[in-house]
């Protein structure tokens, strides 16, 4: 059970933490990728998030809400990274290195390497297709609420201010959206829900 794993990990048990990492890594990676739109940066960010989480595990008061807490760290880290990167001045050598790295990745992807991302990071396509097709097909209000909640990491109150709908409606839309996603993807076998 997750709560038990969290309690063990906060006592320094690395095996338990490994379980948590393997459970949450894709979700955290999704947040990082949505924010950074770059495979390598997202990978680095994900590692940083887990490291920060391990260091701060002792401060987590309710182990039951580990997931929301971890995603909170991910949102904060990604937001900070985004703000820093937006104002960063890239040296010419760095740009060349990045292009070379992406080229290598693209070659690896065409050769069918297992770990290579399906979409080459940094490319225009990567920037546009970071939100999944399943999410894009949801009704606009539901999609926007889910995006703000799970990808931007906003609280109900912040979504309320942003969209002008009350907290009960937001809660309802999120539940509805999750259900719709579950139905659509479950039918295709993409979502392995119990």
């Amino acid at each position: 059970m997750e709560t038990h794993l969290v309690t063990l990990a906060s006592g320094g048990n690395l095996k338990a933490f490994e379980e948590l990492v393997s459970r949450y890594q894709r979700a955290v990676f999704s947040i990082a990728l949505y924010k950074s739109r770059n495979y390598f940066d997202a990978e680095d960010l994900t590692q940083d998030v887990f490291l920060a989480a391990f260091r701060a595990l002792g401060t987590l008061k309710t182990p039951e809400s580990f997931g929301a807490w971890l995603f909170g760290i991910a949102y904060n880290r990604c937001h900070k990274w985004y703000r820093r990167e937006r104002t960063k001045v890239l040296k010419f050598q760095e740009v060349r290195d990045r292009v070379a790295r992406e080229e290598r990745l693209r070659v690896r992807a065409t050769q069918g390497g297992g770990a290579a991302p399906a979409v080459a990071p940094g490319s225009a396509a990567a920037g546009e297709s970071h939100v999944s097709e399943a999410l894009l097909r949801l009704p606009q209000e539901v999609r926007e609420t889910l995006r703000l909640k799970y990808l931007e990491g906003l609280s109900y109150q912040e979504i309320e201010e942003r969209l002008g709908i009350n907290a009960h409606r937001i809660d309802y839309l999120i539940r509805k959206g999750k259900q719709m996603l579950r139905e659509r993807l479950g039918r295709r076998g993409d979502l392995g829900m119990p």
Binding site: M1, E2, S30, Q47, L151, H168, K178, D190
Partner: protein, 296 residues
């Protein structure tokens, strides 16, 4: 308030007889709880209910899993490499090792600091004991030969570089080596008498010097302070040629706190300039602080 508005959606009739949640009420707020959008009172009630109800705990696990999967499905993320978990764990292990090392270093530093404080305290106690023990001894000018001061040039008759027979010669650098004659009986210095120019010879093992030298050092610092000169930036070459006070007692080319430390060391190993009784009677200077350098 977001929490309050969501929390109020739970009808009070859903609360159990003891004021806790029943399963229906728990499921109504479970989603908000996992999103950390529930108020603290209801969080506590829900936690109590979850501890007791296995079915709601299963629901909670399902919702957690659902949230992870929804997040994964919201972004068309490429597959992470198989070694990713290992990479994260390696980073975490390294951080744990570093934290342990820095914790050990901090502990060592703390212990070192405590040991240094103890040493300083012990030194202070020893110094005060030594002062009391030497309180009855004769003053500086009447000190027995073998004292570490030597006289440059022609010293006044009242302060000869006396070396008593049998005194350890290694403590002195005899300049010049004059034929040994019986020294005249020492005369206690009087106020206003010109003081001899003492010199502290730098050696590997500090030779014992006098209180007078220590006073000169203190006077030196006081005057540097009065003139607004930073002692750390002071250079011996900048000393006035007519300066009667010692610029650099340990002769390391700098005027710094190590000079004070050196002087403290020699102070501890040297006899006092006069007896306390004589000082209180007013016939002799009280302490080294009456040195002319301080008065200057």
């Amino acid at each position: 308030m977001k929490d309050a508005s969501l929390g109020s959606s739970v009808d009070s009739s859903a609360l159990g007889s003891a004021g806790g949640f029943d399963c229906a009420a728990a499921r109504a707020v479970l989603h908000a709880f996992l999103e950390r959008e529930l108020d603290p009172i209801r969080v506590r009630l829900l936690q109590e209910h979850l501890e007791a109800c296995a079915a709601c705990r299963d629901d909670e696990e399902d919702l957690k899993l659902e949230r992870i999967l929804v997040l994964e499905a919201s972004v068309s993320a490429p597959r992470l490499s198989d070694s990713f978990t290992g990479k994260v764990l390696a980073k975490v292990e390294k951080a744990v090792r570093l934290a342990e090392r820095s914790r050990r270093r901090r502990r060592l530093l703390r212990l070192g600091g405590m040991a240094a404080a103890l040493l300083i305290a012990a030194g202070a106690v020893l110094w005060s004991v030594a002062r009391r023990e030497h309180a009855g001894r004769p003053p500086l000018a009447a000190a027995p030969a073998g004292a570490s001061t030597v006289v440059e040039g022609n010293p006044p008759a009242a302060h000869p570089p006396a070396a008593a027979p049998g005194a350890p010669e290694s403590a002195l650098e005899a300049v010049p080596s004059a034929p040994r004659v019986r020294p005249p009986p020492p005369v206690a210095p009087r106020r206003g008498d010109p003081l001899p120019a003492y010199e502290i010879r730098a050696r590997r093992t500090p030779a014992p010097v006098t209180f007078a030298s220590f006073g000169e050092v203190l006077g030196m610092f006081e005057r540097l302070d009065a003139e607004g000169i930073d002692p750390r930036a002071w250079q011996p070459e900048r000393a006035r040629p007519d300066d009667p006070c010692r610029p650099d007692p340990n002769r390391d080319g700098k005027m710094d706190p190590s000079d004070v430390a050196y002087s403290c060391q020699v102070l501890l190993s040297s006899p006092p300039p006069c007896s306390l009784e004589a000082a209180e009677a007013g016939s002799e200077p009280k302490t080294d602080c009456d040195e002319h350098c301080l008065r200057a």
